[in-house]
């Protein structure tokens, strides 16, 4: 693997709408996502993992298929 990952959030030089529009979209996207991430998590997911860990699977996962390594 290459060790260089640039996390530059700098202005992308894509052929794009004007910079102000891009900025507004970027902010809206982050606000949209942050709002979702901050939403309370339904209990059922935590419970599901607890059940899985306890070993009694509520539903049988279909283990066949398309896994590529």
């Amino acid at each position: 693997m290459n060790g260089t990952r640039k996390n530059a959030n700098a202005a992308p030089d894509l052929a794009a709408p004007d910079p102000k529009a891009l900025e507004a979209i970027g902010r809206a996207l982050e606000a949209h996502y942050a709002d979702l991430v901050q939403a309370p998590l339904p209990e059922k997911f935590v419970e599901l993992l607890a059940r899985l860990e306890a070993g009694d699977r509520a539903s049988e996962p279909q283990g066949s298929g398309d896994a590529n390594g």
Partner: protein
């Protein structure tokens, strides 16, 4: 049997996984089904996860595969009645470039899923171009062009395509 730390890893990612699922499917209830299925699948395939790689990216890949193979059609039917959380939030910005979150979300649902997911992965979930390319099973060039098209389309839908970057005037100053 997955380890306790694998389980903790999953717990730590659920909120992000769910945010991705909602963004992708456009529906909270569909997203919850997707998350549930993805968690089950992740659990039963835990040995395929390579420690040291991004658990988030791995989970997103699983969820995305489930979405495209089973849920995409359902999403169309459900979307109208059961969309995003309704939120009257204004996205912060300088005074002339603020956007209403609900308007933004409506615009987002009108993008093709392939564009919406790239936008979400790169612009919001903090994944790299490389990770997004692996998740979407395309090259980095495709990721970049989808991203660019997504942004242009959003600008168009939100009427942002004017010089100021602000929503179209008609909306702001109707009362005159």
């Amino acid at each position: 049997m997955p380890t306790a730390s694998f389980k903790d890893g999953l717990l730590g990612e659920i909120k992000n996984l769910r945010a991705f699922a909602i963004s992708l499917s456009g529906s909270v209830s569909l997203a919850d089904d997707l998350v549930q299925e993805a968690l089950l699948r992740a659990w039963s395939n835990s040995e395929k996860f390579q420690p040291g790689t991004s658990l988030r990216a791995w989970l997103f890949t699983i969820l995305r595969n489930i979405y495209y193979s089973n849920y995409r059609k359902r999403a169309r039917e459900v979307q109208d009645s059961d969309g995003f959380y309704a939120r009257r939030l204004t996205v912060p910005g300088d005074q002339e470039s603020h956007l209403d979150l609900e308007d933004f979300r409506r615009a987002l649902t009108r993008l093709p899923a392939e564009q919406r997911e790239v936008l979400t992965l790169i612009g919001a979930s903090g994944l790299s171009y490389e990770e997004a390319a692996v998740i979407c099973e395309v090259g980095i060039g495709t990721i970049k062009s989808r991203l660019s098209r997504a942004r242009s389309k959003l600008a168009e839908l939100l009427a942002l395509d004017n010089a100021s970057g602000a929503p179209a005037e008609r909306k702001v100053r109707r009362a005159g």
